[in-house]
Subunit: 290 residues, 2 copies
């Protein structure tokens, strides 16, 4: 998905929020935001939105310091919040008529944890979101095809989205037969907004569950040409990609891999691109024709 | 009120919305938004937010044409909408225990018509807003002082805010004794967002009610140094200014005229500056110590 004009105000909001989290120094905040506006004023619109997210955080690292991770404590907090409701979510899956579909729904519910989109730290009641998502119709529903492809696939690459959210991903992963052998989980190579990194996968027990790899990139999505060569090889050799969240959709929607996009449409631009309403849940097969 | 960091995303939104209203040509929209981002990246933070609104519309005129008024049809629509409920509002004032205070409340309710703040054209039920505002406590309440100053003032300058909203201003003006002799209504010198101009004052009958003057400026507020000399003289010679809405507050809050700010706090930045909550209604005396 390319950058739409409607993405621009969101870029500005992301820059302000990230600057405010990165430093208390008002002069430095101002410098970060001004620099981000300059980059936004010339960014090619044939790039994807996560290009801009990446640029904002590069500006922050350049200005505040290389080791800065403004979202670290929020990420820890949401990992813990999600771990707390993990047993309850497992129970729901166990009792449901179609555990795989229920796990897909719960995984999508976890997509609400997204500080690239919502105002920071405004979500408290994760279980309310889970329960709402269990009963919401899919706006795009390629679940049947997903289930079939899951049975066939030998190598599944699961592209994680955010910290906290990966606990919800764990719920789906554990419902996929032979997941230990078949699934590799990919996380970001460097901290970017609240995207899940190797550290988050460790914190939430996912490294003990499946093989976890880093994609080598600091973009809040999967910009393949910026990922490591090793990661690109993993993508090419996978039979099936599970792409979680908006950032991965934005960066992979026009590729032709055998990919399923699992997400909640949280902004009007993405909802428009998908032809659904804001708030809708989606499991959508990509352009693969193999 | 100076520009806060939190104003920046709003500037970007205003630029996108105005560009979308000004032209259907995507390339030109993009050009407008890029140019606006460039200006925002260097705008001095000791300016007031309406400086940026003004810049955006200057960019639009420069790019699309001098006579462009993207908001013209929306303004006409809201003038008509407001005129339609004018009799009902008059009836409420007539029946109320304190007609002047009720008129102040109704005038503030009209401040909801603001396309600089809310997403364009999302407000339908103006009477609902009026009724809600009649029963809402003032977050800052200098009404008693306002009433006293009104009795004394010989020359009152009423700074209008938006089209449509001026019909609500009419409700207050008509409750002020000897308004025909004492009140001058000031509108913007050129179209800017949905701010009221002479054309709107004519459409809504205000030119037949009181003397109406233009401020000579194209900013969505009252940037005195950019207004005409004639207008500045009017400001100086007035005993009392009635300042309506956010834009006028933003540009006059730090002056020391005998001014009362009547507004609904619609954005977190202004609410923060005033020390109130978003949605609160305010009648606030300025810094005057005469």
């Amino acid at each position: 998905m390319k950058i739409y004009l409607g993405c621009i105000p969101c870029f500005a909001r992301q820059a302000v929020e990230a600057a405010e989290m990165a430093t208390n120094d008002h002069k430095i905040r101002e410098k970060i935001v001004r620099e981000a506006l300059k980059v936004a004023s010339v960014i090619p619109f044939d790039k994807t939105p996560p290009h801009m997210g990446k640029e904002i955080h590069r500006i922050i690292r350049k200005t505040v310091g290389n080791n800065i991770d403004p979202y670290k404590s929020l990420k820890d907090k949401y990992n813990k919040k999600a771990m707390k409701i993990y047993p309850e979510m497992k129970e729901i899956v166990k009792k449901s008529k179609n555990p795989l579909e229920t796990a897909v729904r719960i995984t999508i519910a976890g997509n609400i944890i997204d500080f690239g989109i919502t105002t920071t730290d405004s979500i408290i009641h994760l279980m309310d979101i889970v329960n709402e998502t269990l009963n919401r119709p899919f706006a795009i529903n390629h679940f049947a095809s997903f289930e079939k492809d899951l049975q066939k696939a030998k190598k599944i690459l699961y592209l994680a989205d955010n910290a906290g959210e990966i606990v919800f991903d764990r719920i789906l992963i554990e419902e996929i037969p032979d997941y230990k052998e078949r699934i590799t989980l990919a996380v970001k190579g460097h901290p970017i907004i609240n995207d899940a990194t190797l550290e988050d996968a460790k914190q939430t027990g996912l490294t003990q569950l499946v093989r976890v790899i880093e994609n080598g990139s600091d973009a809040p999505g999967t910009i393949l040409e910026e990922c490591s060569e090793d990661f690109r090889k993993e993508v090419k050799s996978a039979d099936l990609l599970i792409s979680k969240g908006q950032g991965n959709y934005e960066t992979l929607s026009e590729t032709s891999y055998n990919v399923y996009f699992l997400l909640k449409a949280k902004c009007p631009v993405i909802a428009g691109d998908l032809g659904v309403n804001v708030g809708d849940i989606v499991i959508k097969k990509g352009n693969y024709n193999g």
